[in-house]
């Protein structure tokens, strides 16, 4: 028996805050080079990317509790820390909401908010568009505002409950906290599922309000979970190499989360293909236009990048056991998946910016640059929130009823 090694010092959070603020400032600086519309769309990309990942983490914690899972106890605490970012994401979404209420800028991002927005090709305005009028009971500014506030309220509320109960268990070890969280998981899963579905419809899909897709919420869900799992792997590896997880994390934990990364790759492929295939097969103009737009200019190559890069590459790569458990193999693929989630979100948001002829503006543009700075900005704030919560509790839920089972998951490994 060797003497216990003292745990490494708690990580500093202020650097993440500076990175976040610098990213936000750079995005704001973009207003000197690009119109407000481009920067607002880029900001939407940044906020959607991290909101998706944070929703994914909320879902994974809820699913952990509903299944009374054991192996994921090791990573659950890190997700709980990250969930403290929801209140900041709500704050970062606020500029888009404020913009929607400003009479001069309403309709800038979501064109249906302003009935005077002209339709491309001189076909009247949004207000006279029968497809808008029929959908206006759902697509209106009042409902959009109330729903946006309600979504964040649900996410912040569930996160607070899950965090409070889990942290309280560290102090007294009472199993009642586990049961309370299981109860909230049962109540929270339908709430989270409905809120993330309607959030994706209102915030992203309604950018092109003519379109129909019943798969949209599921597509968004698959990216949420893929992002959360990928971040989970990165947090595991980071804590292992810092020394916190020494003797705690074994090969089987990585194998299990790697299998989920693989499974949700297949799930994303299944859902995205289903959406495309049904529209391709039915061949109705109100639906096909969405993909036709995305075959214009360089968006065609972005589509191909998503098809091969977001499905085939991780699918084939993660078939191998070794690629799921060896740190140097699993790390690059989860970073790749996170990058492709960013591209996928761009693919869904940015082609809604059109030129006078109704064609989408190219992918490789200043808007992409501001999208990247927005992702860095919002991401810095999320990481800051995570690191700020990190030192406030134990590294793992040491008195969780499943923690002993989790730590000897299958067998302890010396690697």
């Amino acid at each position: 028996m060797s003497a216990p090694v003292p745990p490494p010092p708690a990580p500093r959070s202020d650097q993440a805050l500076y990175v976040g603020l610098a990213g936000i400032a750079t995005t704001g600086f973009g207003l000197m080079f690009s119109p407000l519309k481009m920067v607002a769309f880029a900001w939407l990309v940044g906020v959607m990317f991290w909101t998706a990942i944070t929703i994914g983490m909320l879902l994974l914690v809820l699913i952990h509790h509903i299944f009374d899972a054991s192996w994921s106890t090791i990573i659950r605490r890190q997700y709980e820390h990250w969930l403290s970012a929801f209140k900041w994401l709500a704050l970062l979404f606020l500029p888009l909401l404020v913009l929607s209420w400003m009479p001069r800028h309403s309709g800038l991002v979501w064109s249906w908010m302003d009935p005077a927005t002209p339709l491309p090709g001189g076909h009247g305005t949004v207000g006279t568009d029968v497809l808008y009028v029929k959908k206006s009971a759902f697509l209106n500014l009042n409902l959009f505002t109330i729903a946006t506030i309600a979504f964040f309220a649900v996410w912040v509320f569930l996160s607070c409950k899950l965090r409070k109960h889990s942290f309280a268990q560290d102090a007294d070890g009472d199993a009642v906290w586990t049961l309370k969280n299981r109860w909230w998981a049962a109540a929270g899963i339908p709430l989270a599922a409905l809120s993330l579905t309607f959030a994706s419809i209102l915030w992203v899909k309604s950018l092109e309000y003519h379109w129909f897709s019943t798969m949209y919420g599921v597509w968004f869900f698959s990216n949420c979970v893929r992002g959360a799992l990928s971040m989970g792997v990165l947090m595991m590896l980071w804590l292992y190499h810092r020394g916190d997880y020494a003797g705690l994390l074994n090969r089987n934990h990585l194998h299990s989360i790697g299998q989920l990364v693989f499974a949700f790759t297949v799930f994303w492929g299944y859902v995205s293909f289903s959406q495309y295939f049904l529209i391709w097969n039915a061949n109705i103009p109100e639906e096909t236009f969405w993909y036709n737009l995305r075959e214009q200019g360089d968006w065609y190559w972005v589509g191909m990048l998503i098809l091969f890069g977001h499905f085939f590459v991780p699918f084939l790569y993660l078939l191998s056991y070794k690629h799921k458990v060896v740190h140097a193999w699993i790390r690059p693929i989860v970073i790749w998946v996170l990058a492709l989630i960013f591209v996928d979100i761009c693919y869904n948001i940015l082609p809604a910016i059109k030129d006078a002829r109704g064609d989408p503006l190219p992918f490789l543009s200043l808007t992409l640059l501001w999208s990247l700075t927005a992702v860095i900005g919002v991401g810095g704030i999320c990481v800051w929130a995570y690191l700020r919560s990190f030192p406030t509790t134990k590294l793992i839920p040491i008195r969780d009823p499943r923690i002993a089972e989790c730590l000897v998951y299958h067998e302890s490994s010396h690697e």
Partner: protein, 176 residues
């Protein structure tokens, strides 16, 4: 009079057989097996077993299924009996994809199940270890290690000594 099959030793609990397996593994034997009433987590590593080869067969099955699906739709719709359906082309990977996907899964499942049976050499209705007088207890409360005579390191006296040293009880030589 048939040839010797190997030497079998009994153990009383999981800890004993776990440590005995590590000793047999470290002695460099390759043709041997542990027989337990239930799965013991980590025993594969204590025995020095490599990961199963079944996934490779699964992959071959999956690729075969995918190609079968694509070929089926292409052959029936675009080669053997050309027919326009719903204004679509004779062949497109789009509508061939669902059937290819389903056949990938089906053939992967077949290859996995059949490959597992093939590599396990199952079903096997007779095995020499059944001659061990107490062997029925391997399904209830006893643990066994059998080292086969075909192992290049096998030597009746030295192998028996290894099993004795590893804590084996009721050590007997069995015939094939």
């Amino acid at each position: 009079m048939s040839k010797a099959y190997g030497i079998i030793a009994a153990f009383d609990d999981t800890r004993e057989i776990f440590q005995a397996c590590e000793q047999v593994r470290d002695a460099g034997y390759t043709q041997w097996d542990a027989l337990t009433p239930f799965p013991i987590h980590g025993l594969d590593r204590a025995m020095g077993l490599r990961r199963s080869k079944v996934p490779r067969l699964s992959l071959i099955g999956g690729i075969a299924g995918f190609c079968t699906g694509m070929a089926l739709i292409w052959w029936t719709g675009a080669a053997d009996f050309r027919l326009i359906v719903g204004g679509k082309p004779y062949f497109s990977p789009m509508f061939a994809f669902p059937i290819s996907y389903e056949l990938s899964i089906l053939f992967t499942a077949f290859a996995t199940i059949l490959g597992m049976f093939f590599l396990n050499r199952l079903p096997m209705h007779y095995h020499p270890v059944l001659k061990q007088p107490q062997f029925a207890r391997a399904t209830s409360d006893r643990f066994f290690i059998v080292i086969e005579a075909t192992d290049p390191k096998f030597d009746a006296a030295r192998t028996r000594a290894l099993l004795v040293q590893a804590g084996g009880k009721d050590i007997v030589e069995i015939e094939g």
